[in-house]
Amino acid sequence: MSARQINWTVVSLLATVLVPLERAVGSEGESGPSLFTGDLGNIIWSLLTFVVVLYVLGKFAWGPILGALQKREDFIRDSLEKAKQDRNEAEVRLREYSEKVIVAKTEAATIVDEGRRGAEDLRRQIEEDAKAEANAMIERARREIGVAKDTAVKELYDVSGRLAVEIASRIIRKEIDVKDHERLINESLEELAKGNGK
């Protein structure tokens, strides 16, 4: 816009300066040059020079430049497309990996839980086994004690019976046959057992 304004200013300045100048110069000599001096020669030369430039540059400059520009354009477009594709791929992969991590975490938690549960079971099992064994040992001990007690009691009966018989025979001074002897022992044992049973 401002450039246009400058142009117009210049053109109007030109008009105000040129017209009187043209007149002044024109009056000096008929054959003098004018602002519009020119003829077919200028047209031919202009066409020739322009066409030469068009041809030579077209052959040696514009081709390579256009090629470079197009190549660069393609290169940039390809690079951007590739970058976009790579990005999408990376995003997909990231999502995949995130999912995998989540799955792995759950799996790990399950494994730990299972381990804990197993350990707990094992502990309980061991405890129970130990308890059972202890109980069995106690039972056996009790039984052995019982047997020992019975043996001891029986021996006590035997000894005390024999003692009683000895004492009695000494008292009655009379030998009692073996039959009587045994009968008497048994009787007194039974009495003792009865008395003990009470």
């Binding site: 142009n7 030109l14 020119g38 200028n42 030369w45 322009f50 540059l57 256009l66 470079a68």
Partner: protein
């Protein structure tokens, strides 16, 4: 000294075409062949040839594809090649593609050539070659009073020819690529109004091309005349008031001239751009006919969304 001041006192000398040699080709006295002669060598023609040589020497040198085999190294822009490449890329992506769409790469060599051709001639015109080459040209043309210099784009015949090339591009490609649609575009209304509309449209096309030629011509002439007028103030002050005031005026004038030269460098780029941009727009109007245009805009919008 006296002569230099005298020469500087006519600002128009810097923009005229100084003909060194002419050739008789016919006896007909027309606009194109005054007295049956045409110009063979002039300061503007030499400037055009210098511009062409520079273009051919400079641009292909930097434009060559780097071919090291390493894709990333080859495609990385650097150095002077990058300077030309970025200008080219700007024209292709920002100027041409929105206007020409799928036809961009078909017309881009013409667009690039037009820009650099005009730009080089514009910039060469800013070099103060004329006083330097004045004695040199006398070796070849003893009658010559003016050296080689000035903008060839400050010559309406040159800009006219360039504009005519654009017209050719418009009409030929309009017919080739749009065919009937391009012809129909000359009658944008009911057929009954054709006798009225067609001449108007043709005149409109002519006006566009005429404006294209005059815009470049006038801008180039104006800048040079302005600079010359500014500098002539020194000589005028000297002859009217003497050396003292002329020195004072000189300092001011030189500072302002430097500023205007900066502006002229900008204008050289700007006018080359405007000519090229309008050429692209006109070709686009002929090649991409309106209803197709909308579809393409939609495509562009979609492409932008994808990007």
């Amino acid at each position: 000294m006296e002569r230099a001041l005298l020469a500087a006192s006519n600002p128009m000398d810097h923009v005229y075409q100084w003909v060194y040699q002419r050739a008789q080709i016919t006896s007909a006295d027309t606009v194109f062949t005054p007295d049956g002669k045409i110009t063979v060598v002039s300061n503007h023609i030499i400037m055009q040839i210098i511009a062409v040589l520079l273009l051919i020497l400079i641009i292909p040198r930097f434009a060559r594809l780097r071919d090291s085999g390493d894709a990333i190294y080859d495609l990385t822009p650097r150095g002077m090649g990058n300077f030309f490449e970025s200008i080219c890329a700007y024209f292709r992506d920002t100027v041409a593609r929105p206007i020409l769409g799928e036809h961009t790469d078909r017309f881009i060599p013409y667009i690039w050539t037009a820009f650099f051709y005009i730009l080089f001639i514009n910039l060469l015109g800013l070099l103060p070659l004329e006083p330097l080459t004045r004695s040199l040209i006398k070796v070849v043309y003893p009658d010559a009073h003016h050296g080689v210099g000035g903008s060839a784009t400050g010559n309406i015949w040159v800009t006219g020819t360039l504009a005519a090339c654009t017209l050719g591009m418009i009409v030929v490609n309009g017919l080739r690529l749009s065919g009937v649609a391009y012809l129909a575009h000359f009658c944008p209304g009911p057929l009954l109004l054709a006798p009225l509309l067609v001449p108007v449209e043709i005149l409109g096309l002519g006006a566009k091309i005429f404006a294209l030629a005059v815009r470049l011509f006038a801008n180039m002439v104006a800048g040079h005349v302005l600079l010359a007028v500014l500098l002539s103030f020194i000589g005028m002050t000297y002859s009217a008031l003497g050396a003292g005031p002329a020195t004072g005026i000189g300092i001011v004038v030189v500072l302002v001239s430097v500023a205007f030269n900066m502006l002229e460098i900008f204008v050289a780029f700007l006018q080359a751009f405007i000519f090229t941009f309008l050429t692209t727009v006109f070709i686009g109007q002929a090649v991409v006919i309106h209803h197709e245009d909308e579809g393409e805009h939609k495509e562009h919008a979609v492409a932008h969304e994808h990007a």
